[in-house]
Amino acid sequence: MSDHPITPRPPFVIHDYFLETAFELRFQGLLRQAWHERSWHVIAALPGSGKSLGIADLTHQSQGYKDSKRTTHIPFLAIRAPKNGGTDLALGTAFCTIFGIVPSMPWYIRRAWLVQTMAQAGVECIVVDDAQDLNLAHLAFLKELTDNLAAPPYERQVALCLVTAHSGKVIPLKEIFSRPDILWRQFRRRLDSERPFCLVTGHTEEEVCSILEAYETIYRDQLPDLHLLRWTKPIFTWLTHATLDPDGTKRATMDHLARLVTAALRRSYEQGASDVDAEALRQTAELMLLRRDEIAEIASIPPDSSFPIKEVS
């Protein structure tokens, strides 16, 4: 027996880098085009595709800044739609929050303030994430806001992208904009004539392959012999199983792929392996596919609490 005890491995570290995947290229490409052409679109993708991450990444790339010597510049303004319905005030508040500290003021003043501020900050593209949560009051306010920006004295045409999560073949908002009311007809008219409703698809097997290649690079410091590419086919098959792809798109979402890979890598790492094997992947996939609704009973106390407990004085 050796006198030197084996040093335990440090905990597995998950790297949550933003990967410029094929989906992101498609999705961000659409947003960029809308921004450039000042066009209006409803952009749908499956939940977990990476829409919000793509929007956040583009926001950082858009080089918004605050500068007392010059001004504040926010060409690409992205918000998340207010939850639980609410009035136009909720959407207005979401817009205001983007600018930083805004003292309280009556809503009728804030409406005008938003238009002035957006114009001064040089807003060129408005993106509303989770747009499936928008209600009629929100949509009417969006139209009012963009109309006021387009009118004198600002005369600023802005792009509008309503990014929604969809399920099946139904694209949210499409039905609303088909209604005969004047407001919706006006809204519909403002949408891009060529591609008003866009559906951005998930990853093909080939695209999954290139993502796995990226994961190999990212996690090689923790699993030196990592060779994920050879598992592309089974991984893609698992991810397009009816449980994870209920709409039968035969495409894999980034969320499922990331969960499967990182869970399998963690499992292998904790077992002291330097590569992931078929068994670790299979067990993880099984958890995700077959036992995803299983209820875990937590009855025992964890063996070692890693959080220091301090008495509150």
């Binding site: 500068d67 007392s68 504040t72 805004v102």
Partner: protein, 312 residues
Amino acid sequence: MAQIAFSDPTWRTTFPFLVEPLTDEWLVGLLLRCDEINHWESGTTLTYICRKNEKTANSSWTFIAPPGFPFDELAASLAIPNEVLVATTYQAELARIYGVADPHSLLLQASFSFRLCPACVAEERLLTRTLALPHMTICPQHRIELVTTCLCGATLRPFHKQTPPFRCFKCGLDWAKLPKIQADQTRSQIEAQLLSYYQFFWTYGTPDVLESALQLVYDSVVEKGEIRAPLSDRLSWPESSGRSYRRTSSLGYIVHLLWQLDLAPGDILVYAGPLPWRSMKWLTFQCSEPCCPYVAMIKKRRHILKEDLQEK
């Protein structure tokens, strides 16, 4: 100030549009410019900053040396250093001159009425700190009379709800459009002199210098044998409660006396030395010693002051 990127956490804790103080800008002007650039009604920034701090929420400010003013809150909201903001008031200078940590505006003047230079407002939306100085009625830069009332007759107020910044609360006239009346030459010269006294105190002011100034004033009055202005027999120092300020100890009053008695800033500095014969005026003192150390010191101090003034 460096640019704030969208990813910077400071973005969320700052106003939508940022301003930083211009040269010698007064806090009131900075607050108004912040309101204007952010498209807010006059006084919105001030109200927001004071509401954040419950202690100061109900205070009224004179903005000359506002004790307890939430400078740190405003500095954080504008992403500028705290000391840059403090420099938009006379707080630091008055604290040094009077040797108190939290000086009251009464140390500068007993009463205050808001006035402005329409030319400064027209050019840069600027309200300078000199607007807060007592006896100043002319803009030192433009040589025009400072304005206290609007063309409509309303007294100008720095902040008024539901009024855009830099505008009359009654008729809405932009302060930049107020009449620019050329100042009287004689009055300009007087105010230039008054300003030099203030400048002297901002640069060299300490409790000792202030005491010397009062002593000099006292001795001058005794020497001339006439009292042209009420004068306290001793300096009345402020108490911590801030209620014992006397008009006669305010800087504005002392400056006025110095001007009345035709005493130059150099006289004060010379008088501030550790002379054993303090009650005698240095100008009339003749020492019998061939190499008097005090005369040498006085000469040296005068020389330093002269050089200093020339540099400025």
